[in-house]
Symmetry: C2
Subunit: 340 residues, 2 copies
């Protein structure tokens, strides 16, 4: 017996990836509905071989639906997430809106699955893409040596800004070959052949909101004692976030044990040879589920230091896959009731 599943924001880059992921992973679907804002109503999206006609979120009644995977804008989730939850439908929300609310679990299934039991409001939040891959890689190392401080610099793909972000990189790049001046709309400056050290808006302390998210979300998911200093940078890559991560641990680091733990960790693939090309780059992780860890090495500048490089498909593990895995984990933990 399957579930009645709603996908909200179905026409966006993440929404489409959620539909694809549900189908690929054979999520037990009895009935599925694609929802979006009124302006997208009537458009069509794919679910396996089927075509779904997009319905109007604003007038949709969630009563009798078991789970809704939300990836619209944060302001849309703010209104329709609680409405769906009130109707008895479990909401897995991919926006930043509910993430830091104390009664909303923020979950990466490989890291803190049991937090799902605390979803009293019927809402679970999916973390930010850049946080997810970092905590997946950190978890086995934290279990071994207890991380206390992380310095991370990110190399984030334009897909994090949705389909429009990808279109802008494509158009600006093409423009350089035909001498068209770049149109800057989705990002603050030209992204083609450039790096932009700003993702999301600035906070009062000079960090950006994306950097703040990596700090507070890592604390909520992994351990409130971990300090995180992040610099988040947009790079001209279509899909796949990379991160240069430098960690100080409480306890002495054993590189062999670290490798073993990463090799055995769920959701992690360690691909790390100290030779030309012996690491994973973002274009190589597109369409893959894992978080790839490479360039693992001792940081000799502090007592218990370790540095690594990690890459992951930000649309999959960074968004759609993690959301679907949350739903799967809720089924496994008997937290997703049937309501037929």
């Amino acid at each position: 017996m399957g579930y009645r599943v709603a996908v909200v924001g179905a026409t966006g880059a993440v929404g489409r990836e959620i539909l694809k992921t549900l189908h690929e992973r054979e999520f037990p679907v009895d009935e599925i509905v694609a929802l979006a804002s009124p302006r997208s109503t009537g458009r069509e999206v794919s679910f396996g071989d089927r075509t779904l006609k997009v319905q109007n979120l604003e007038t949709f009644d969630f009563a009798g639906w078991n789970v809704a995977l939300f990836s619209p804008g944060a302001s849309v989730s703010a209104i329709h997430g609680p409405r769906a939850a009130k109707a008895g439908c479990i909401v897995i929300d991919n926006t930043s809106h509910f993430r830091m609310e104390p009664d909303v679990p923020l979950v990466v299934p490989e890291v803190n699955p049991n937090d799902l039991k605390k979803a009293k409001r019927g809402i679970v939040a999916n973390p930010n893409c850049s946080t997810i891959q970092m905590v997946v890689a950190l978890k086995p190392l934290h279990d071994l040596f207890t991380a206390k401080r992380v310095v991370v610099a990110t190399y984030q793909a334009v897909a994090g800004a949705g389909k429009d972000g990808m279109d802008e990189l494509f158009a600006q790049t093409k423009g350089t070959f035909v001498n068209d001046p770049p149109k800057v709309e989705q990002f603050q400056k030209q992204i083609a052949f450039n790096c932009i050290p700003q993702i999301d808006r600035f906070m009062d302390d000079g960090a950006t909101k994306e950097e703040w998210k990596m700090t507070v979300e890592t604390k909520k998911i992994l351990d409130p004692e971990i300090q995180v200093l992040a610099t988040c940078v947009r790079v001209p890559v279509f899909i796949g976030h990379s991160e240069a991560v430098v960690v100080e641990f409480e306890e002495p680091v054993d590189l062999r044990k670290a490798r073993e733990a990463l090799r055995e960790a769920e959701g992690v693939v360690l691909l790390d040879e100290r030779e030309d090309g012996g690491y994973v780059t973002p274009i190589e992780c597109v369409g893959e589920d894992a978080t790839y860890v490479s360039r693992l090495r001792i940081d000799p500048t502090v007592p218990n230091g370790l540095a690594f490089w990690c890459v992951s498909d930000n649309l999959r593990k960074g968004a759609a896959l993690n959301a679907v895995q949350i739903a799967e984990t809720m089924i496994a933990l008997d937290l997703l009731p049937h309501r037929n």
Copy 2:
């Protein structure tokens, strides 16, 4: 009265930039010669309005020449640098070959000009591009608060791999628009729309040689007590290196004083507004001499922490300009004798 100047490796990306920089800065040139390997002999390069016919380095006699700016491969400098120095010509070498030799000064004129007085062998080394911009930005902060540990992640342009590197990014990018599979020659993997966490070869400890260079060169130029952990990454940017730098200091950090010092520092432009676009990106620094510092903020995860973003034109300050500035500083310090 001017100098007799030789430019070695004159047909490369840096060699051409050196010729351009000498002309732009009105370096006191009495006579200039462009030198390169036999296979480039007879080609032509520009020096202002003049055209220089490239001469054969291997048979060139440096006697009577005052200063030679070298930017060929490291193995070429190894042979012809000492040969030129022995003939009484001051050698300013842009390769990595002599940098760590104790009797060869490694100099960034804004940081350690007086080390030029120690050039007993007649050879001065120009640091690695990624090191130069970092120490230019660190120097005024180190003077104020004493840096003890630096964690840096780089976003390095393909121009660091010369004209061939730039051609490869161009060709691979163009190829994606016409469905040509990317040819990988200069870099270890595809660089178009990708990030490669390897620059130079791997060392035994898992760092790359580029990362090792940033560590040992910073110590030699700025302070042997500073610890540096670098992750060096090639990004699909043509010209202009970026760096996310996180520093721990001995003494308490005053953000206002840090800003003042950076504003007054030679070679640094502080451009830092905490609002959309209030920072410098690599495409904006192309052709500029300064090292731009942005995103300056307190790092609250350690007692005396500070983070910033810096960008610079890696062909100019990172190579050609710094070499020419070394020659200018040697004139100012009366270290460049006339030998007519």
